[in-house]
Every structure is written in C-alpha cells, then in structure tokens.
C-alpha cells in the first residue's frame, strides 16, 4: 500500500465505535427508548406488549419504507396513503362483487400488488419522462384515487376471505402475528438489494446526484420509475395488512398516514436531498414512532396529545440528525488530518466552525 494511504483498519477503536453509533443513531435511540420505558412504564416490556408494538408498527413501517425509497431517489410521494386504501379496495371489489369467479383470494393478493405497481408506474413515468414536479404529480394522484375510492365505496366491504386476511390477521405458533415476520422479510430483502446489488448502488447514486449518475452511465429515468413502482407495491402491501387486520376494506384507509411516513423515513436516515438512508434505519424510525405512541398510550395519554407528541418527537429527531452530521464530519476530518500528518488541531477546529456555517 502506498504512503499516505490509510484504511478503516488503522482508525482507533474509539473513533470506529463512535462512527458506528453515529451511523446507526436511530437504533441507539430505539434501544435507549425501549430500556427507559421498560424501567418506567408499567407492562411495557412484557412479551405481549412487544409483539403488540411490532404488530401495530407493521402497517406504518411499510409505508415508511415506501416513502424512504422514494426519498433515497431524491423525490417524494404523497399518493402512497391513497394507494394503501385503493389497491385492496379495488382488488376486493373485483373479488367479491364484480368477478368473484375469476378473482379468488390468492389472485386478489396479486391484483392488490399489481394495482400498487401500476399507480407507482404512472407516477414514475409522469415524473421521470414528462418532468412533472413529484410533489404536484403525487398530490394529483393522491386526490384522484382517494376520490375514486370514495365514489365506488360509500360503504365498507366485509367479511374478507381468511386467505386474503392471513398476512394481516394470521397468527403463527407462539401467537406471533404473520405480519411481523412478513415485514421483517420485506425490509431484509430491500436492505440487501439496496446495499449489495448493482441495481441498489445505482438507485442510491441516482438520488445523490442524478446528473453525475447520468454521466456515469446510469439510466436515471428508469431508476426513478422503479422507485415509485416499489413505493406503490409497498403501499399496496401495507394496505393488504391493514385490510387483513380490520377484516374489511373502507374508503378512509390510510388517510393522514403520509405525513408520519415522512417522519419515520427521515428519522431513519433519509433526507429530502436524496442519496441517504437504509431500509434497516427506516425500520428503526418506524419502530420508534410505534413504541412512542404505545408508551404514551400505556401511560394514559389521549390520542390527540399522542399525535402532538409525535410532532415533537420528529422535531427532536431532526435536531439530533443535525448534531449527528456535524459530529460525523468532525470525526472523519480529524481522522484525515491525522492520517495525512497535517499540522495542528487548531486548523480543523477552525475548519469545523466554517463547516457549521455552511450547513
């Protein structure tokens, strides 16, 4: 190895540990919050309640992942909350009223996901090819499909077939809801895809700097379309779980959930600038939101105040994120100064100040 070239292995352990904790801050928060509540909140740490937290976080966590993927791509998607209602709604309408012979419950599951993919494709094409602003495009889709849903569903549709309900309401041995392993698998698969496949690398790079990615030979339009299609499919999955859990489909499913999906994704490491965040981080974000409302619930706080507190939590997370980025950049800079043998800590203290001004 040539001179002046150092690798992570030469970093001292304290710096490495700090960097590890900084990069996984959301999970540090999840653990701290859990331990704190386990000590203070009655019944919080029971097996039943932990399963309960995971179960109740499942639907939101898929929506967080959907939003997170679009954010990594450098865009945003408001329409996922409408897709959550629309996809299972249409699938069940086909299965139970329009063509019950043709669309059985298993086919209905595929139809649900397909509708999600189609809506995502529509958003993606309009945004990538026609260059429509993502905020406006997905706002239009959100209102459009919610409107259609309200039109064709002035009623709730139930009872749903147990097969269709299995993912959302089924239980495994040990009374574990099917939804929990279900979302864990989804998160794991997407985490591996994003971190360890060429597609994932290109996907993240596109979000970081579309122009440079294009020059590097990446088909950035296709990456954007995939991002929205993935978001659509995940939102539809989320709808599948929601429909299964409540045993019916209705026109209000998912309403108001999109804002919290941003919260979870941003807490999990995504940024509005794109190019950052991992599915595992976002799972942490979703769990923190879930634990938070669960803890307040157990403490007897009313739903309105829980909602308000969630806002406060998001704000705190954003503040923490700024501090995190500063600390990270300081550590790496210090490491670099030491590695290159540049004189004087005073220089990088000064530098650090300037950096703060920049960001």
């Amino acid at each position: 190895m040539s001179a002046g070239l150092t690798t992570t292995s030469t970093m001292n352990t304290s710096t490495k540990l700090q960097l590890f904790l900084i990069d996984n801050l959301i999970w540090v928060l999840v653990v701290v919050f859990f331990l704190l509540n386990a000590a203070l909140t009655p019944r919080f740490a029971s097996y039943g309640n932990i399963v309960n937290i995971l179960y109740h976080s499942a639907i939101m966590s898929l929506l967080v992942l959907a939003q997170g993927l679009v954010l990594i791509n450098g865009r945003l998607d408001l329409s996922i909350e409408s897709t959550l209602g629309f996809a299972p709604g249409i699938a069940m309408l086909l299965s139970m009223r329009i063509m019950p012979g043709l669309v059985g419950p298993v086919t209905a599951i595929f139809v649900t996901l397909l509708i999600g993919a189609a809506l995502g494709w529509f958003n993606g094409v309009c945004i990538a090819k026609l260059k429509i602003n993502p905020l406006l495009q997905t706002l239009a889709t959100m209102i459009m499909i919610r409107g259609i849903l309200l039109f064709i569903f002035p009623f709730s549709l139930f009872p749903l077939s147990p097969v269709y309900r299995w993912a959302g309401a089924g239980r495994l041995p040990g009374n574990i809801p099917v939804a929990i392993p279900f979302i864990l698998i989804v998160f794991a698969v997407l985490h591996v895809v994003l971190q360890h496949t060429p597609f994932g690398r290109k996907f993240v790079a596109t979000g970081g700097n579309p122009r440079a990615s294009y020059v590097s030979g990446i088909n950035v339009e296709r990456m954007t379309i995939y991002a929205f299609m993935l978001a659509g499919v995940l939102a539809a999955m989320s709808g599948l779980l929601a429909a299964g859990r409540q045993g019916s489909v209705s026109n209000a499913m998912g309403e108001g959930m999109v804002l919290l999906s941003f919260a979870g994704a941003l807490m999990g490491g995504a940024s509005l600038q794109g190019g950052t965040g991992t599915p595992v981080g976002m799972l942490g974000g979703a769990l923190l939101l879930g634990m938070f409302s669960n803890a307040l619930n157990l403490l007897g706080v009313g739903p309105s105040l829980i909602y308000a507190s969630k806002g406060g939590l998001i704000f705190l997370a954003l503040l923490l994120d700024r501090a995190r980025m500063r600390r990270r950049s300081y550590l790496l800079h210090k490491e670099q100064v030491e590695a290159l043998g540049i004189e004087g800590i005073s220089i990088h203290k000064q530098d650090e100040k300037n950096r703060r001004k920049d960001t």
């Binding site: 190895m1 040539s2 002046g4 070239l5 150092t6 690798t7 992570t8 970093m11 591996v192 360890h196 496949t197 060429p198 690398r201 290109k202 993240v204 790079a205 979000g207 970081g208 700097n209 122009r211 440079a212 990615s213 294009y214 020059v215 590097s216 030979g217 990446i218 088909n219 940024s271 600038q273 794109g274 190019g275 950052t276 950049s329 790496l332 800079h333 490491e335 670099q336 030491e338 590695a339 290159l340």
Partner: protein, 501 residues
C-alpha cells in the same frame, strides 16, 4: 479561492482617476482574485488598498460600495422574475409615504431615463429574465454607472457574453463614463479588446504583476509575449519535462485507422464543422477560450448533447450514442468539467464513488461482493495517489484535488478505448495537477486514445502530441508537438492570424 494555492503574490497596482485600466493574464494568473479584493468580495492575506487616499487592509463589500466601487461580474446576476426597473434600483427603490411604499411611477420614470442614457430601447417593465444575457450585462453596467453612480467600475470579463452589437453599446457607455471622469478596471483575456478600450494595462502572470504598459507602447505580439512569459516563448522542448519529450518519438501514434474520428460535426450556436482524428496511444489537446465550444464538442461525442450534422466514427464505424450509458458500452468515457455537479455523488462514500462505473466487474452472482470491491477501490486510489482517511468517508470531505482524482479514477475504472477529458486539471493545486498529467501521459495514453481540454496551455503543451486550435466554435488549425510555442498558441486561440501548419 482555491485552498492550498497562492492566487496572488505581492501585487502592486496603481490606477489613475479617469483612466481605463486593463488587467490581462492567462487562466489562473490571478485576475479575478485581484479585482475581487478591490471590490470587497475577497479578503487579502496581506497588503493594503488605498482609495482616494484612504487606506484599507481589507475591504468589505459595504465599504467598497460607500467608496463608490462597483463590479460588473462575468455572469450577470439579475433577479429573473423582477422587472428591468426593479433590477436597476434593487435594493434602494425610490419610495414614498416616508419610505413605506415603493414609488412605482417614479421608479419607472427614473429607469426609463437610465435606459435612455444607455441608448437602449427596451421596456423597463419587462421581466429581466426575458432579456438575453448580453442585454442583462449592459443593464448591470448602467446600474453601476447611473444608479450606484460608481466612480470606480470593475468589469470582470464582462464582454464574454456580449454579441457584436451589444459590445458596441457597452463601449459607448464606457466612453460616456470615461468622459465624466470615471475610472474603469477592465479584466479580460482577449488582447484585441484590451488594446481597443484601455489607456494602460497591467499584465499578471502566476499571481504576480509583471508589467504595466501604456497602449501606445505595445502591440498584439508584445502583449502576448508579456502574458505568456519567457518560458512560453522558449518553445515546447524546454516547457515539457524531459522524459516526456524523450519518449515522444517512440510513442508516436500508429498510422493505422484512428480510434475516434469526427467528421464535419456541427451544432447550431456551439460549434461548426469540427473534424479530427485521434489514434491509439495519442493525446490530442483542444485549446480554446471559455465559450469556444470545447465542452460542447466532447459532450456531443459522448451523447450528452445533440448535434445537427456530421459524423462520429469509432474504429472506422459510424456511431451516434444515445447517452452516456451507450457511449460507455462502446468504451468511450468522459470526464466532466463540472466536478461536483456531474462527476461526484457527494452523499456517497469514496469507495462507492470509485466503483460506481465498474459495478459489473465486482459482482458475484446478483450481488456486489465486498472483497473485490474494496480491492478495486484500493487499486484505483493507489494508482492516482489519492489521499483519504477511510474508504468509507463521504467524498465531500475530500479536498478539491482529491475529489478530482476520484472522478478521474472512476473514469479510468471503465477501461475505455477513448478518453474524453474535459479540463481534468481545473481548480486543483499544482501537486495534484502534476500527478494527474503524469497519469494521463503514462497510464491512460498507452492503452487508449485521449482527447484533452484545459484552461491552461502549459498543461496541454506538457503532455499532448497534437493541439487543435478552437476559436468561436471553429477549428483553426492543428499543431504538432514539434511546433508548440506558447505565444503562438496563445495568439491563435484568440483568433489571430498566426503561421499555423
């Protein structure tokens, strides 16, 4: 301006009241930094500025404005959605009601008077964004002249975006101001322009003021000689490092089919009828001023910009790339001039940036496997003598020179047959520049054809086998290595008639 470099060193300059004083020098000579200091945009590390007898160690923009110093920048900065009149008076609008409300009627009357002084016939209510860049530039000159009533006006390459007609209009405003006793500092790298408008001019070279001359003392040739310096006049043999010069004959390009050949390439408003060949093992330089079409030509070849007519041949077969992905598939790689905008993904780690264009090579099955990935990243980094603390650190933490090396390494990782290198040495320090040039010469050229542009002629002269002269989108000639002379090249890229082969 660029960390780790000295932009200006011990420059003394006196400008007399009422004179038009030119400042000329090559790219990187320190022109913009010098006037930045006078205008209060850049803080000097040492030295003083004396304006009308008042001495300043550094000047803030506000103090400079109080001393009636105005600057007309290279890129006009106007608020595109505001009207011409609003832009002219921003931020000191005429007001009524004790300063509470903008007095629109008076604003428009005053603006109309000012526009009339510039002999323009434009509607002051029109949006600034609807005017051409040149017209916006003229309006900024009018603003400096008649709204800020500056006594010292700095023109920072203000002519580079003007058309012929606009130039005439601009000259007339300068003449009016001169008659009023206004002092003008005029920066340019165009010799003709300077000789036309300036009384005296100061030549900067490598951050030092080498001479101040009166217009009647010099002609084009003398001025070019001053700008490039004695080293430039000495010719290629001395300017180039010895090993490269010695190696030149045996490395002479093969006489067979060119790897890349361009025939009659034209794109409206960028370049016309461009033809050249590049062979295996050859470095072809394209020399031209900013705006001469260098970047556009390379981007058109790479498929990023469309062209209207002409043909590109790769290994003798006509090609037309639909975009970068297509070009890379055909083993043509492009290093963008805009390092941070088009070269790097700031939020990703050094490692992820390095391997981004070579992901297929480090895969096993459907996955990127981490050991070959780290190995490739290390190889690339070592090859370019890249300095970093960790492969996992984000690329934005690196210095400019190291960021440039990351972009270069990424381009190299694709192992292309043709390298299109657009200003690879832009904005980096001398040490990094030397490393990059050496790598282009020793590592890239032996296996490929290289097309290179650069803002500085020395760099091209150091490593190129041939230099094409580009002026206003036309190729004026091709100069083989044996005939490199910096003064002639400098004159040639200005569009002057010089004996070219």
């Amino acid at each position: 301006m660029y960390p780790g470099t000295v932009a200006l060193q011990d420059v003394s300059l006196d400008v007399r009241r009422g004179e038009t004083h030119g400042i000329i020098g090559k790219n990187g000579a320190g022109k913009t930094t010098l006037v930045g200091i006078v205008a209060g945009l850049v803080q000097p590390t040492a030295g003083t500025i004396i304006i009308n007898g008042t001495e300043y160690t550094d000047l803030s923009r506000i103090v400079a404005k109080k001393e009636r110093v105005a600057i007309v920048p290279q890129e006009p900065q106007m608020v595109q959605d505001c009207s011409v009149a609003e832009n002219l008076f921003m931020p000191d609008f005429p007001t009524r009601g004790g300063g509470l409300f903008m007095d629109r009627a008076r604003l428009h009357t005053l603006a109309e008077q000012i526009v009339a002084k510039g002999r323009l016939s434009i509607d002051v209510r029109a949006k600034a964004g609807d005017l051409g860049i040149g017209m916006q530039q003229i309006l900024l000159m009018l603003k400096a002249s008649y709204v800020e009533r500056a006594e010292i006006i700095i023109l920072d390459e203000a002519f580079s975006s003007l058309s012929k007609n606009e130039e005439t209009l601009f000259f007339e405003i300068m003449r009016d101001k001169k008659a009023e006793g206004c002092t003008i500092l005029h920066i340019s790298h165009r010799i003709d322009e300077l000789l036309e408008v300036c009384d005296r001019m100061t030549v900067l070279r490598d951050g030092r003021a080498v001479a101040t001359v009166r217009r009647d003392e010099v002609d084009k040739e003398k001025l070019s000689a001053l700008i490039v310096g004695p080293l430039g006049l000495a010719g290629a043999a001395q300017a180039a490092p010895a090993p490269a010069a010695a190696a030149a004959p045996e490395q002479s390009p093969a006489a067979n089919t060119p790897v890349l050949s361009v025939r009659g390439l034209s794109a409206a408003e960028s370049y016309i009828d461009i033809s050249f060949d590049v062979h295996h093992n050859e470095i072809l330089g394209i020399a031209g001023l900013m705006g001469s079409g260098r970047t556009e030509i390379l981007k058109s070849i790479y498929g990023m910009l469309p062209f209207d007519s002409g043909q590109i041949q790769l290994h003798g077969k006509p090609v037309r790339f639909s975009g970068p992905a297509d070009a890379l598939r055909h083993k043509v790689a492009y290093l963008p001039e805009d390092r941070d905008g088009e070269g790097l993904i700031a939020s990703l780690s050094v490692k992820n940036n390095l391997v981004l264009s070579a992901l297929r090579r480090i895969c096993s099955g459907p996955f990127v496997s981490s050991q070959p990935e780290t190995q490739l990243a290390h190889e690339l980094a070592a090859g370019l003598e890249l300095k970093f603390a960790s492969l996992e650190q984000e690329v934005r933490e690196l210095s400019g020179g190291n960021r440039q090396k990351v972009v270069a390494a990424k381009v190299m990782s694709t192992r292309p047959d043709v390298y299109l290198l657009d200003e690879p040495t832009k904005g980096i320090d001398i040490a990094a520049k030397a490393v990059l040039l050496r790598i282009i010469k020793q590592e890239l050229a032996p296996g490929a054809a290289v097309v290179l542009t650069s803002p500085g002629l020395e760099e091209l002269m150091q490593i190129c086998d041939r230099i094409l002269i580009l002026h206003n989108g036309r190729l004026l000639g091709s100069i083989p290595r044996a005939e490199f002379r910096e003064d002639l090249l400098y004159a040639a890229i200005q569009g002057q008639e010089v004996p070219l082969s």
